[in-house]
Subunit: 377 residues, 4 copies
Amino acid sequence: MLKEYLVKDIPKLKIHGRTTTCREPLTLFWTASGFECNVSGTELSVEVEVSYDTFEPWISYTVNGDWVGRQMLVKGRYWIPLFRGMSPDKIKNVRFYKDLQAMSDDGNSYIHIHALRLDGTFYPVEEKKLKLEFIGDSITSGEGLFGAREEEDWIPMFFSSLRDYACLTAKKLDAEYRVFSQSGWGVLSAWDNNVNGALPKHYREICSLQPGEKNERLGGNAAHDFTSWQPDYVIVNLGTNDASAFEQPEWIDEKTGRHYKMHKNSDGSYLKEDIEAFQTAVKDFLGIIRACNPKAHIIWCYGMLGLNLQMSICRAVFEYIDETEDRAVSYLQLPNMNESTVGSRSHPGYLCHMQAAEVLCQYIGDLIAKKGRFYSD
Amino acid sequence: MLKEYLVKDIPKLKIHGRTTTCREPLTLFWTASGFECNVSGTELSVEVEVSYDTFEPWISYTVNGDWVGRQMLVKGRYWIPLFRGMSPDKIKNVRFYKDLQAMSDDGNSYIHIHALRLDGTFYPVEEKKLKLEFIGDSITSGEGLFGAREEEDWIPMFFSSLRDYACLTAKKLDAEYRVFSQSGWGVLSAWDNNVNGALPKHYREICSLQPGEKNERLGGNAAHDFTSWQPDYVIVNLGTNDASAFEQPEWIDEKTGRHYKMHKNSDGSYLKEDIEAFQTAVKDFLGIIRACNPKAHIIWCYGMLGLNLQMSICRAVFEYIDETEDRAVSYLQLPNMNESTVGSRSHPGYLCHMQAAEVLCQYIGDLIAKKGRFYSD
Amino acid sequence: MLKEYLVKDIPKLKIHGRTTTCREPLTLFWTASGFECNVSGTELSVEVEVSYDTFEPWISYTVNGDWVGRQMLVKGRYWIPLFRGMSPDKIKNVRFYKDLQAMSDDGNSYIHIHALRLDGTFYPVEEKKLKLEFIGDSITSGEGLFGAREEEDWIPMFFSSLRDYACLTAKKLDAEYRVFSQSGWGVLSAWDNNVNGALPKHYREICSLQPGEKNERLGGNAAHDFTSWQPDYVIVNLGTNDASAFEQPEWIDEKTGRHYKMHKNSDGSYLKEDIEAFQTAVKDFLGIIRACNPKAHIIWCYGMLGLNLQMSICRAVFEYIDETEDRAVSYLQLPNMNESTVGSRSHPGYLCHMQAAEVLCQYIGDLIAKKGRFYSD
Amino acid sequence: MLKEYLVKDIPKLKIHGRTTTCREPLTLFWTASGFECNVSGTELSVEVEVSYDTFEPWISYTVNGDWVGRQMLVKGRYWIPLFRGMSPDKIKNVRFYKDLQAMSDDGNSYIHIHALRLDGTFYPVEEKKLKLEFIGDSITSGEGLFGAREEEDWIPMFFSSLRDYACLTAKKLDAEYRVFSQSGWGVLSAWDNNVNGALPKHYREICSLQPGEKNERLGGNAAHDFTSWQPDYVIVNLGTNDASAFEQPEWIDEKTGRHYKMHKNSDGSYLKEDIEAFQTAVKDFLGIIRACNPKAHIIWCYGMLGLNLQMSICRAVFEYIDETEDRAVSYLQLPNMNESTVGSRSHPGYLCHMQAAEVLCQYIGDLIAKKGRFYSD
């Protein structure tokens, strides 16, 4: 017999991704946030409530680890079927993913999960031994992983959580993972010099980059309780948009009238003062991450869209290590996209994300193997 | 401005798959049936009407040739969004696919297409130069192309039109294609000796294997007008379930009380009389296909799930050629599934279908290259 | 201390390939013929005696299964070093391969093995549980597996035993194997209608296609003792040159003045009488192979250079089975070469041979798995 | 008619690799050194003179770019056949490679090239537009690219020039290249703390790491004339053995009695003083390379056998850039070996070298594309 269960009444439901403690309903903010359950029964549906002004959310889900569905969500409150007609006694694992990132450009773009409908029983979802957090930009938001190569529209359809290197890495390492990312953003500024597009400013809150009053009401602006979920590894994949800012015109803050721009010298090199500001921002962000995750190893990754700022990132990482004597921090280069690994919107495609996941998995595997000694040699 | 268009009022809409002439609404019967359109505008939705008793339909669709969505359909009449927020002036190609086969086990499982909603203009869909028809069983219905390897449930979720070798072959050859297939069925009988499960019996009608009064009303039992669509190549991929019938117990027709079974000799070989009946059925089916498609080259394929009946199929094909002097008929072995290419439900997986598509494309490409001479040497 | 051992004095030396019983010296006739040994010691050399008029032999060898050397052999008697400086106590496996086929065009092209020089001990080479014989043309002789794509010279440099599908199949199945092959030859005639180029005529002798008085003296024309080595599987890969004969001008036997040619009808199809002659030749050859190898399963393979004669080969194989009730015979299609798998001289390259080996291995593996029942269903 | 040509009499012969100006005979010192020629004619041989005490040289060669032969060389002066029976008029490109590195452990291991024997004409070898120099250790010497995985002997058989990432990179970029490498050596010391195993000490001479009086006589100890060949890119792949020295016992210089060792702290981290010495050595070597190659871009690569010293290498490279304002210097991480890419002797195998070549080619390609601006951002 099909029965409806409010999320709050399913203690065995595993919630993925940074969110508030509210379960009536559960709000999904970030890429790859969602839920996971182990259930018997023949049929499962989920009741969602969806809102947006400009950017509609998309979702994907897996059954027993294999991707079976992906769809655009319309506005409103309604049921989405997840499976039907399965053997009643076998226990099925279902994982539901928000495909779209938290949208700093749409303060009304949310998925809420109200309830599940099932004719079986919920079973516990086993805790993974490894936890990973991924912090990044469009690459980590999975932009370009759907769509034909020639696509240029910046729309939710082309964002994917499941083809992303973060998901692939977690799957390969059998890890639980969370994503904290925003397309176009960087460490010091966004790709267009907009200094509001700096991810570190939002790291301590649940999801404060989602703008507006509704987010306040939903609790996205509240402080995140880091003790509730401590990753073993924090993978930062930022710097690509900071490099872009050197190539873009200045950005003017309309509120203050202040102008912002990263400059290059006449010979094409980066202006020393601006690079230093960037490096300071990297070091400061490492400090914030460390403060929030005292035991995590932090890996700063770079390179999937070129190596322009590699030297500055390395310098900043190494200076942070020297200054803090915090050695659980390191730098890792990821495979650069090329003609055969490009996806849509000139972003890394599935092949490039698979290569990146392989490099990350080997690197993290090696770190795990030599635990007990210092990481940064 | 979004505007609704009834299917009958969109002459530029390309309809795929065998169906009736009715457009109010359009009924989708077969795997990979659906529609295709070229449109400007920012947003497109489709109004479907879905019914089923046991087996719910699934759909997939592509935008500019790239797969972006796949979902289970619930019962009722409602709108499904296909894209949003795209550049208004660019022309987008959208192809909508029924993922599920025509269901001989559910006389109420249909998708009807009523209307499209668009804020742009419809443009013509260019006619392909090559047309292919695929006739087959579960392999051609794409069974096993979704789902984890351990899955055993026979449910619509695990059927895929888009990962199928038929779709892959058509895409690679830039061809239009149709699928006429039924899981579990064969040339002479189904896998369990049920003689109703013989595809040739239904080839001349639009979709007469879908049972019941509703199908009659929808026109599925009407004669198919073969002049309306003539394939250049007919690819038959049958025999796998006929081989299985030799291993299964007899099937009893409850109406007549008659018993049916394919037999093996005590040494494990196939009984001569039964093999001859099978071979006659193959030859008869070739005759039917030829009668309906006078100019097509017919390729009988076999091997993706083993070669048990290869010799009998070849004998039948060659005898047909001798007896009719019809030389536009040939036999082609397809790659056998193995441990690294298996999908779910012990069926060929995506890798195996890709290998099969490659073999077929090369074979058809060679035939095209030497057109003008006889095919069967 | 390095010591020289005559071949006849090394009972633990494993001899590969059809040859005479003479060991002073051992004569290598066929592709992949050679020797294999397990030895301790730091250093191993082999004393060869090489002759040829036009086509110089090439050799390859492996150490512990891995290919380490390949070279052209000059005329004369001399030592070839195989390894040096290895750990004295470890036992090394060395396998020495003739890369060049027996040369019907050069009655003086031979490698003789006189002795080995070693500072260690010979150990037994374990008998493989599976034995394979490969009968074929240029494909089985490994033509085109070395050399740039644009190469057109028909020279020994471009023949390889080790990259060949025969070697790859044997390695994957952990089998001992022999090759009986001749480039340009067929079942009924060579590619140019020369009826002397028919492999069946030479199957009962050790190596009677090597012409001339020297071969007589060496014993190549003597009857082969089939009881000395019985394969479990005989893989015949012939027909490609018979197909070619239909496209070539007639061949005139200078001794008798007789003309020979395979004909096509005006519509491009093959002349019935000629096809029947070909089919008779296939059946006769199957009879010869069966007479010589009473317990072997015979697999007739075809397709690496196109499927032109597939139907005729299948007909002949099936008629042979019907007429003889010999069911340990079957037909298998191999992967066709394409643009990405071509080697030099427009012949299948390494990728194509690897694909063929994979298909063969799966097929033979399946046959082994169902031993006890008849093979040809 | 076959005719012998002394090397000195073949001005069109292209000489590869660092060597002296002597051509009677030409001496080959380094990995991948050798010669290249474009010739008509049917037959080509080379007269070599080979000596060694412990480590025999091996050679490989290509015909029209495709590898056709590889063999161990015995002592003495003799002719090696390269091709026979080719079309006389076509121009063939032949490239002869020393597979073995210069041997610091065998002062008598040399290949000398005296003459070529040809029945055709020599044609010019076109100058490549791009020149690369590779400086490295065992990885760059191609150790482990031949031989079974279980091999542990340190012998010439397992060294390969042609499967090496240096060769693969040069081929893909259509570049001329040279290799300056020594297995087991590093920037500051060899893997075992032996401070004589430091490559920078030998960079200014032709081949001064080859020990003994014979090398003096051959001119290996003479200063190298860098003006004779200026690379566009110098790729340094060193640090792996320096990392190893931290794990090994001290090395005692028998002449001076001095002890040498890289130390680790009790917590497993590297001792600061030793790391500083290593970094100084890296910077000094960059200075030497720059002095010798004023216009080259220098890429320091690392990572094919782990990233232990990555941070120290990066620090040293960046400090060098700061101190010298020399911006044509950068750092690049190469793909780490894993279980599926390992070769023999626990060294990177062919797959790993192919991956490394791909990363290098993309990186160098990007640098070439943005020439005119500074490289190190």
